[in-house]
Subunit: 159 residues, 2 copies
């Protein structure tokens, strides 16, 4: 993983030297298109109301699995943070004033680097969803999309 | 996968016959302990305020990665729905009155069967978190825990 070399440990950070056990396999269902080509360009946290339009492009056969999604305005998106190292136990994020355990942070560096975001669904264009509210790199692999659990809209409550 | 045999297709449901491509590997970081031993016993959706206490038991070396988590009251939990088939495109959930695309549902049946829940953190006991608000089977593999994105509590905003 050459990307790992781009993320050296900071002072006081602790990594495990155990190899990660492989327990389950993910299949990427598509790709996320955003304006951000480097990590430095990415906003700190997506702004659901003010951020730019982003695209969730689904691969066959998964585009058809979007049928009925138009009834929701808020979706939960899961994606694979493919450029992150996975072995840190204690991290020292910039401006945190010390270290914290990986699970006390939303850092992309985690044993299973899955990002989650709530986005606003603007429209569906065939096998693509146009949304607002993401903050990830262009080309990020897409793992899952679900209706927002927090907002039981009438159509969902009926189902 | 013998569990798949327990979930026959309902009328009008559509599955893909393409094998799932393997794109990334998950490593289970622990296991979830709940009172529910069968799917029929599981509640429909976890109730963060009224449900029973459940336990997130972290395996070594990940227990130490909890350091600092006590400052949060709401956590996002990701887990692997290990008993779900993964090939459905259109599903016909009971009481839905028709079919919907997989991504228009929060059904456990999805190409990447990752469940997400918001839980209330009651306390940490070493490498275990005691929480309220889950609805998954006892023995469900644990994939990730993060502070709740929706609740930028003071401690998190400072980091």
């Amino acid at each position: 993983m050459p990307e790992t070399l781009l993320q050296p440990l900071r002072p006081l950070e602790v990594a495990t030297d155990r190899p990660l056990r492989v327990d389950a396999a993910l299949t990427f269902i598509g790709v996320i298109r955003t304006p951000w080509k480097t990590r430095d360009e990415c906003p700190k946290q997506g702004d659901r109301e003010a951020g730019p339009e982003c695209r969730l492009e689904f691969e066959a056969p998964w585009g058809e699995a979007l049928d009925g999604i138009e009834r929701y305005t808020t979706l939960e998106v899961l994606y694979w943070l493919h450029r992150s190292r996975r072995d840190l136990i204690h991290q020292a994020p910039a401006h945190a004033g010390g270290t914290r355990g990986t699970f006390a942070l939303r850092s992309p560096i985690r044993p299973n680097p899955i990002g989650t975001s709530m986005v606003r669904l603007l429209r569906r264009e065939g096998s693509t969803l146009v949304v607002r509210g993401l903050d990830c790199l262009d080309g990020t692999p897409l793992v899952d999309v679900k209706p927002d659990r927090c907002r039981l809209e009438p159509a969902e409550a009926a189902g």
